[in-house]
């Protein structure tokens, strides 16, 4: 049993918690014995992948589990046992002593009431105050969480706020009764990086101001490193490691924690560095393993690991660092650098050119591609001739008709507004930007799924919108798409093999038997066993499903693969597997990849070239190392600064971009970014749109002041000037 450091008092302590959901004769073991505690005034981060039981643990603390959940153990708030309380007593604890913020602020707020009314409701539920006083308090709270002009905005409805502002409202509501503990369950997962950074700063400031405790549940180690005092790592319903933030990130002992840290794409690693892959996937929640839950995926597992369950024991070094691993002593002795499997961890060759081998003919199974193609090609040299362009977008525009009244048509939504880009053979283009920047619309327009309003998409000398229906069909075979949510992109009623062979069926390639065989081959290409073809998509894990989606996209031997957020719905340990797979497929098949992501670290790991999109336009594009290493556009800089670095020693970062992206219905005049830009110069930036120019060889930037900004070493404080 772990005891908290004696210097502070334990506020909320969970001991031996087990939660089992009983449904239809099947027991789902969501939490299999968790010990954790949070002290007064500290931030505890609970980290884990999906299915680790982190949210269930916190839901249990609030007494909000469904009625088929069986709970064992103890959850104490100060001296009171929460599990022994009846519903009425619990209700006085919830909100008043424990505040909660959930992931999706839109579904947690009632759309038909004003925000001030909802906050006032929370206040009046726990204290006997007048309506007027509660309203005044609500306005005060909205000001505290950084809603500009709180008094005027208090009577707005949730839909009138942006995502980040809504999350601020949720925080205000959670703070309404001055709780001692704030439980934040993935509060920034649904938000853009720039907004995430704002929320992280806000919560940390409020915690210090009020001296309350925060339990921050997250799967994102970067955010955790920025905010946590102590970290608890959960895996499959158990705590595997727990300790002060710095210790954990510097010297993770448990193989799972260490693996997670190495599997995570990060901005501060050397470019083109290897991503380690944690093999396998999360265990079956219905199983009750005897030994260590991580043993089946662990490189250091021995017989004892499978036989006996390791207990969470404090390390000899002390400092509150505890690990549940039989081999923690040995792992610690060898230092943190434990050699992984002898085969070496799989490497990424993202930085290499992977041209399609001329010998590979369309239709030949990918597995038969010449072996030479798999060998890493020499790194791109400046003088090397650029690979041929496969797809070229020329001044592409996609405008949606706005919804006006019946007499007057509204202004169009300019989702994509003049984008010129090209995709080179065998290379990867990464497209980044905040939500609403038009990335997905661009991808759909490229595939001919969206009607263009201007400009052209050209595949070689074929222009998309001039093509006949037959030509379009042919073209769709050359470019295929992988979606963000693999579960949603497959018809749940079809077997996996039917999902994979669907493109063949649609295009009438071969007999049913041949299609089956090809489906099996495709599954093997994406490293899945053929037998999986007989299953249904819902029986697969998230990573397996995304592999199936990739297999399907490869069925027609496309030259171009458009991946819209291919890994953002996946857990970190699985992300690395998919990134590695895409990279391998590219080198073997000579695919051109367009990868869309809001996650800059992912793009940096996999892309050769990068384009940054803001409000429907490209603001910067160039080679990966130029854009990430020497960003010239203030927006790119802001995005990069906002990405949390998984290093607790580097917390003093520049304050990220303020505000939210403006509406694409009425984009700002001049440079679209000038309202949020710290460097904007009145009279220039707000009147003249900057052209996208090749300001450095191969590095295009749309900014009037890029040279000056690069020259000035002392950047102004973006937070102060962004609002002015």
């Amino acid at each position: 049993m772990v005891t908290a450091p004696p210097r502070v008092t334990e506020l909320l302590a969970i001991r031996g918690l087990r939660v089992t959901f009983r449904a239809a004769g099947r027991d789902v073991h969501a939490v299999r014995g968790v010990d954790l505690s949070v002290a007064e005034g500290e931030t505890l981060a609970v980290v884990g992948e999906s299915g680790s039981g982190k949210s269930v643990t916190m839901t249990a603390a609030l007494g909000l589990l469904p009625e088929n959940a069986e709970v064992e153990g103890s959850i104490r708030l100060r001296d009171r046992e929460l599990l022994a309380m009846d519903e009425r007593a619990l209700r006085s604890v919830r909100g008043a002593e424990i505040g909660v913020v959930f992931q999706d602020p839109m579904s947690s707020l009632n759309p038909v009431h004003t925000v001030s009314r909802q906050i006032a409701e929370a206040i009046r539920a726990h204290s006997d105050v007048s309506r007027g006083a509660a309203h005044a308090r609500a306005v005060e709270l909205l000001g505290e969480v950084g809603i500009p002009d709180a008094k005027a905005r208090a009577d707005d409805y949730p839909h009138q706020f942006s995502g980040g502002m809504r999350q601020r409202v949720m925080i205000a509501m959670a703070l309404a009764c001055g709780p001692r503990v704030l439980i934040a369950d993935e509060p920034t997962t649904a938000l853009d990086v720039t907004v995430q950074a704002q929320i992280v700063d806000l919560v940390d400031r409020i915690r210090r101001g009020r001296g309350m405790s925060v339990i921050w549940i997250s799967h994102d180690l970067g955010v955790v490193a920025q905010i946590a005092d102590r970290v608890t790592v959960m895996y499959a319903g158990r705590v595997v490691e727990q300790g002060p933030c710095a210790d954990l990130f510097d010297a993770a002992v448990h193989p799972y924690t260490a693996g997670l840290l190495r599997a995570m794409p990060r901005l501060d690693s050397p470019a083109g560095a290897e991503l380690e892959v944690i093999r396998g996937s999360l265990p079956d929640p219905e199983a009750q393993p005897e030994g260590c839950v991580f043993a089946p995926r662990c490189d250091h597992a021995q017989e004892e690991c499978a036989a006996a369950r390791p207990t969470l024991l404090p390390l000899v070094a002390g400092g509150g660092h505890a690990v549940a691993c039989h081999r923690s002593g040995e792992l610690l002795d060898h230092g943190r650098v434990v050699p992984a499997r002898l085969g070496g961890s799989p490497t990424l060759r993202a930085g290499a050119d992977n041209p399609r081998p001329s010998g590979a003919v369309d239709g030949a199974p990918a597995g038969e591609a010449p072996a030479a193609a798999a060998a890493p090609a020499p790194p791109p040299a400046a003088e090397a001739p650029a690979p041929p362009v496969v797809v070229a977008l020329d001044d592409l525009r996609v405008h949606y008709r706005g919804r006006g009244s019946w007499r007057r048509s509204a202004a169009p939504v300019r989702a994509v507004d003049g984008v010129t880009l090209d995709l080179e053979r065998g290379r990867t283009l990464g497209l980044v930007g905040e939500s609403g920047s038009g990335k997905s619309t661009l991808a759909r327009a490229l595939l001919g799924l969206e009607k263009t309003s201007g400009g052209a998409v050209a595949f070689g000398d074929q222009v998309l919108h001039t093509m006949s229906a037959v030509g379009l069909r042919d073209l769709r075979r050359t470019a295929q798409m992988v979606f963000q949510d693999p579960a949603a992109s497959m018809n749940p009623a079809l077997r996996v093999e039917d999902v994979v062979s669907e493109p063949l069926r649609i295009n009438r390639r071969g007999s049913v038997a041949e299609q089956r065989v090809r489906a099996g081959e495709l599954l093997e290409i994406v490293e899945l066993p053929r037998e999986l073809g007989r299953r249904y998509p819902h029986q697969l894990s998230g990573g397996q499903r995304q592999r199936v989606a990739i297999a399907r996209a490869l069925a027609l031997d496309p030259q171009v693969l458009v991946c819209d957020e291919p890994v953002s719905a996946l857990d970190v340990s699985v992300q690395a597997q998919i990134i590695r797979l895409l990279s391998r497929l590219q080198s073997e098949l000579g695919l051109s990849l367009l990868i869309i992501s809001h996650d800059l670290a992912v793009i940096r790991t996999i892309a050769h070239r990068v384009a940054v999109m803001y409000l429907g336009q490209i603001v910067e594009r160039g080679n990966r190392d130029d854009v990430f290493g020497r960003p010239r556009h203030p927006y790119t800089r802001g995005l990069l600064d906002a990405v949390p670095v998984p290093d607790p020693h580097r917390r003093s970062r520049p304050v990220p971009l303020a505000g939210d992206p403006p509406s694409p219905v009425a984009p700002p005049s001049g440079c679209r970014f000038h309202e949020r830009c710290a460097f904007a110069r009145p009279g220039l930036c707000d009147t003249t749109p900057p052209p996208l120019e090749e300001q450095r060889p191969g590095h295009w930037t749309a900014c009037h002041l890029a040279d000056e900004i690069a020259a000035s070493s002392t950047a102004p404080d973006p937070a102060r000037s962004a609002t002015g």
Partner: protein, 295 residues
């Protein structure tokens, strides 16, 4: 309600029913009741020649005779056995109801698919649905029946024309939500045409819904058929429950003690069959319709 709390090490199963399960059970009971009613009626219709004591067209006894051992529900004005008439009437009422509802389901599903899947044509189609929905039912029914003439086929056509619109709406809303799913976009990006997408991905998912709508619509169709026949606009050669009532009214049975065996039984049967199909349709809809289905 006690929280399932175990503080130390005394595991004890939490025996609590989820609230939604209670209401699901109630729905199931209603569905079973409806199903039994429908099953009995269908059996009666199929086995009519076996069950009926007399041929309904034959003069089996003295006209206007009250119930007796020979004629359990008495006879009508020409001496035909009323019980036999009702048993054979089940055939007509159910056939008209089911065929009309099936036709309405087909029309409604097609219009719903178009309305949900093709935005331009769909907008036009849905305005058509709106028009049908606001038509005054009974007057139109009478006008159409009088215009088209009295035959069982016309009755089916008239009823189908009137009741397909709600089905179209339900199907359309389902198609609208399906059409935005990623896997439909995925199929389109693979080069699939509209026909393929509708046939392979959209139709299978709307068919169940359409069947639920069909059962519910049958109830309405039976009521409409009875109304038409009662007004004397049904097929004069096919005795249904409605036409039994029509003759009862025409011969003044509503005002004499004969109402107990001449008017009440067909009325109750109409009510019962409408109820049976409505309950079954309700239970099916609760199971099938994603908008009504809880968690």
């Amino acid at each position: 309600m006690t929280a399932p709390v175990i503080t130390e090490s005394t595991p004890e199963p939490a025996n609590v029913l989820r609230r939604s399960r209670v209401s699901r059970d109630r729905t199931r009971v209603l569905g079973v009741v409806g199903g039994v009613i429908v099953l009995v009626l269908v059996t009666v219709a199929v086995l009519a020649p076996v069950l009926a004591p007399y041929d309904p067209t034959e003069r089996a006894g003295v006209p206007f005779s009250p119930p007796s051992a020979d004629h359990l529900l008495g006879t009508n004005d020409v001496g035909q056995d009323l019980l036999s008439e009702l048993i054979y009437g089940t055939r007509v009422s159910l056939t008209v109801g089911i065929v009309a509802a099936a036709a309405a389901m087909v029309i409604g599903t097609i219009v719903g698919l178009i309305g949900g899947y093709l935005p331009r044509l769909g907008a036009v189609a849905m305005r058509g649905v709106d028009v049908v929905l606001i038509l005054p039912f009974l007057p139109l029914l009478i006008v159409l029946a009088a215009y088209l003439g009295r035959s069982i086929v016309n009755t089916v056509i008239i009823i189908a024309i009137l009741i397909w619109a709600p089905t179209a709406r339900v199907i359309r809303s389902q198609v609208l939500s399906l059409a935005k799913r990623d896997y439909i976009v995925a199929a389109r990006s693979m080069g699939a045409g509209h026909g393929y997408v509708i046939w392979r991905h959209v139709l299978p998912k709307t068919l169940l819904l359409a069947i639920g709508e069909f059962v519910a619509a049958t109830s309405g169709a039976i009521l409409l058929e009875s109304s038409l026949s009662f007004l004397g606009l049904g097929d004069p050669l096919q005795e249904s429950w409605g036409s039994t009532l029509y003759w009862a009214q025409a011969r003044g049975a509503f005002l004499t003690p004969a109402w107990k065996w001449w008017v009440l039984p067909p009325g109750l049967l109409i009510m019962l069959s409408a109820l049976g199909f409505a309950l079954l349709g309700y239970a099916l809809e609760q199971r099938i319709n994603p908008r009504l289905r809880r968690s």
